[in-house]
Point group: D2
Chain length 336, copies 4
């Protein structure tokens, strides 16, 4: 069987990672072409993974030796890239968020639909084996009817302020993963949103119009209530936990420590901090995400994380911002 | 040193437990007199702990061989009992909640103040060594500035419907412990409350006007945000966890399993369920609570959990009910 | 039902504890009489638990208002006390070790047999719920055929040298609990013993002819191999763990920390040390041990931990000493 | 900087893994040449990693575009391969065990010495971050003087009988890793060995002259005592734990579960089995092992796991076999 040939669009931190994985660690896949508006970034990745650089996104998307595209460019260019790739008939992987604009999202989804191609959104955490075990347990009825879901998601440190300024803010950039997770593990859509936030870590984050500490309460169609807590700065590592509680018990995922040892003295039992950040915690999820994409693209199956799964968390994120601004519960159907 | 002689008022489940502890397990304390409006209940406890029964609450409170009273009667009688005991100059222990009526609470606190005696509220969880370690770590600055606090509190099963009907509902009966915990571990008062709830376990609870599943978000004076989740029915035991997260890390308490063993087979690693309920989990906290009371009563110190600590969680509980009914954030100063 | 009246013989640390438990915390039992060769010690305990003191062991054993005796005197007096109590027809609880002399042990067991009374040996750890869960899992076949058993047993600090001098040494005083545990959890007798030891903690222990650090390998009748490791000084608390491994998996017990909290910072996750020593760790086992004794004494059942269970670990302990001295495997049938 | 070019000798399971790692995941390294006596096996690996095949071991070892060799051939050919590679002046990585014959080992080490090249033995577990944390803690004095060391090492299932027949048996094939670990984490040589073993899993293993269940006790020069327990068949996964106990406390490493989730119901808390085997557990150690090798080979440093580290565990393994056969403690200086 020949490899699935993926053009990597965008050679920043995440695009570079995907190119590396496709080149060295994903079976049945390769990355023959890469593109970035910054030629230097494109050349660096191309050289590392033995790819050629394309002179334009269109060239990369349209290349004959390309079966699929991985859209890792800046968020505001995702929709145009999707439209171009759909027109070229390529299978599409797109990083989250799809866009910050619901109208634009709907334009992208319409292009995908009319082209009859498949789109997979980069909600990689669904492929983390620990979180997946939670979702599977719930789906198999192991916790009974779902009553409560608690998600903790704390980064080791905030991103640069210039990143924050175009990120869509904490709810559309960071919490959006948790909104996806809430839908994924409970198996139920979100009907309303209540959010509270604060600037506790860096005043510059507040000056950029964002929050660095947040709590969100979601009500699901099935009556379950989800709480999410976020922080942009966690002293002890990258803290990512999910718990679903129901009539039959609970399923929960937990973190890994940097390594698994303990030092016990008269002061107590000391274990190392958690794995530092997403590259350490989620590498396996990125690999399994690519395996699912390759499987879908080569067998003609449906996307496991399709356009609606990209759209719904954005709606929740926009509702969360509205809730913070207006101090009230916001229904998702107020957004779109 | 002679024992502190405590009259136990109310011989139901919790009064009977306190009488037992005072008789057999609390150093420097005894329970020479017990009282209950149900003479049979009083006789049973009296016989078990070698006490005499009083024919009225007033007689018990006023007895010469009584230094202090433990008020374990029904909630609606707490305030009158406090007023009577204050008038008699006895040191007072009173179970939570103080009352369901803020005006009545203020009457009780005024009586205590003018009598110049000390009142300790039965928020026993403050004396649980694990939760106390969280509070101490926060107080000593070990987690830095407090940003978030998460409290999980789930009972193994709901109380009888007739109990629920006079209980003040989940927020004033069950969550009130968590409201106290939030104030205790963060060291900061609550300024506003948002609550959501549902009836998921037993429709009869809803018919009684109560909820069995709830989420509450509190904003504290110091800017910290607390989330609380409650359920009246937890399949795997009594789940009681507290986490305080701040700029320097986090402090958290966890549960005990029924016993500490594991069975590992090809199916995985199986540990027993959690300790069943509060008698199992919190016995040590009840003992340490009495030790603090005896110390206070015999040395003339101040109460560690005084009248204000009884009043503040009730205000939060009433605000939570108002929040659920009105679907909005409620400021605590709207209540009283 | 009337209480089982237990005469407590020996009012040192362990006798005092048993008197307290019988008085305050064991249902259906009381301690009306206590005895110690040191009258002051006897008076102290008698006053605490509301008992009278006997002027001699014989008086205590023979008292009409005594149904059973708890032998907590020094090891060298156990056998005579057993013989006296058997002659008086009392049900007997005896602390471990039965004796340091196999001939004497056999004299005691013969007296018990001919009197037709029951004897329970104080191997309290069998009643620890965590260790018991291991034994039960093995007995129910949950780990399949038993292949290996690992026991870790480390004290927080060594006893006084004058205690050590008459204790029978580490194998007959401390490891004897582990020898019992190995028989209990594997359900199989020991056929040979290999032991290594060292003096690493205090040279005075070596000068007293004892070891403070030891490893023992036991071979069981069923082919299982047990390893035991001991230390008289463990910096992080009282470390008591048992693991049984077999064809189907393993069952294991673990320790409790002083309390169940964690502090997570950039330095890592810190939990408190383990519970300090046996009074903290094993209180519940002492209570369940007494419950079993009371049940046996009042219903006429058989002892769960009878004379043979007292004798066998002593044989193993003596074999361990012989193994260390002679540097070889010693069969238990070489001892007696 | 140019890559370190490593010829991979032997294309079985372990050689194939090393070729993959060198090709795709080790920075600054490549595998341009592979060799196996089975041409088909060599071709398969060559094709996978883009290497050429050599027609003989000598050709591979002597190639001009080869800086180093990775000896992954059958154990009985290790020494000749080392001698050839030393003569060719290549830096050598050799899988464990060096050989089953001490005389041959000494011939290999002499060749290495006289060639002045470096040899690194494949005791990869030293590079497992959890075990390394134990060794580092001990080396930094965090546990004080070392008194005891416990190593548990259990495979998920036995190897094929034809592998066992030429493996040197459990002590030279499997436990040899633990002998290395004992030296590594305690930082002290072994002076004597006591071993017990049994055939409990498969009679065919016994018929092949081997054991499948074993316990070993080692005495170290510094007085520490190590216990090792082994099983060839562990129902719940690959169980690899190390604990070093000393005057100041203990340092210990633990396993990873297949994933990090829990399902809690009224039956208890269920976590998944352990990672299946060494490819899952020790991938990171293989990568870090290669990083150390590349660093050594390119900077001219000393081997971290040199010839003596390959020889000493073999001596212990042979002593363990002698101990089982003769039923006694065997000094390592009896072996060589």
């Amino acid at each position: 069987m020949t490899d699935l040939r993926v053009a990597v669009l965008g050679c920043g931190r995440i695009g570079s990672m995907h190119a590396d994985l496709l080149d060295a660690r994903v079976d049945q896949a390769s990355a023959p072409v890469v593109f970035d508006v910054n030629a230097e970034a494109a050349n660096a990745v191309a050289s590392k993974v033995g790819a050629r650089t394309a002179s334009s996104l269109e060239e990369a998307v349209g290349a004959d030796d390309v079966d699929a595209v991985a859209i890792c460019t800046s968020t505001d260019t995702h929709v145009d890239a999707i439209v171009a790739a759909a027109a070229a008939g390529k299978t599409i992987f797109c990083e989250k968020p799809l866009s910050l604009d619901i109208v634009a999202v709907d334009r992208a989804l319409a292009a995908v639909d009319s082209a009859g191609i498949e789109l997979q959104i980069g909600f990689n955490r669904r492929y983390d084996p620990s979180h997946k075990a939670v979702a599977d347990a719930v789906a198999h009825g192991a916790v009974g009817d779902v009553h409560l879901c608690n998600i903790t998601s704390r980064d080791p440190g905030p991103p640069p302020i210039d990143y924050i300024e175009t990120s869509g803010g904490i709810f559309c950039d960071m919490t959006i993963h948790d909104f996806d997770m809430a839908r994924y593990v409970t198996g139920s859509e979100v009907v309303d949103v209540f959010a509270r936030g604060a600037v506790r870590i860096d005043p510059a984050i507040g000056e950029a119009g964002d929050l660095d500490t947040a709590v969100v309460v979601l009500t699901h169609e099935n009556g379950a209530i989800t709480t999410i807590d976020n922080s942009r700065k966690c002293a002890y590592g990258y803290d990512q936990r999910v718990e679903v509680f129901g009539s039959g018990g609970k399923a929960a995922s937990d973190n890994y420590h940097e390594f698994n040892s303990v030092l016990a003295t008269e002061r107590g039992f000391l274990r190392p901090p958690l794995e530092h950040f997403f590259l350490e915690r989620y590498t396996r999820s990125y690999l399994d995400q690519w395996a699912a994409f390759v499987e879908m693209a080569t067998t003609g199956g449906d996307s496991q994380v399709g356009g609606h799964d990209g759209r719904a968390p954005l709606v929740i994120g926009l509702a969360a911002w509205k809730s913070v601004r207006e101090g009230r519960i916001v229904r998702t159907d107020e957004i779109g």
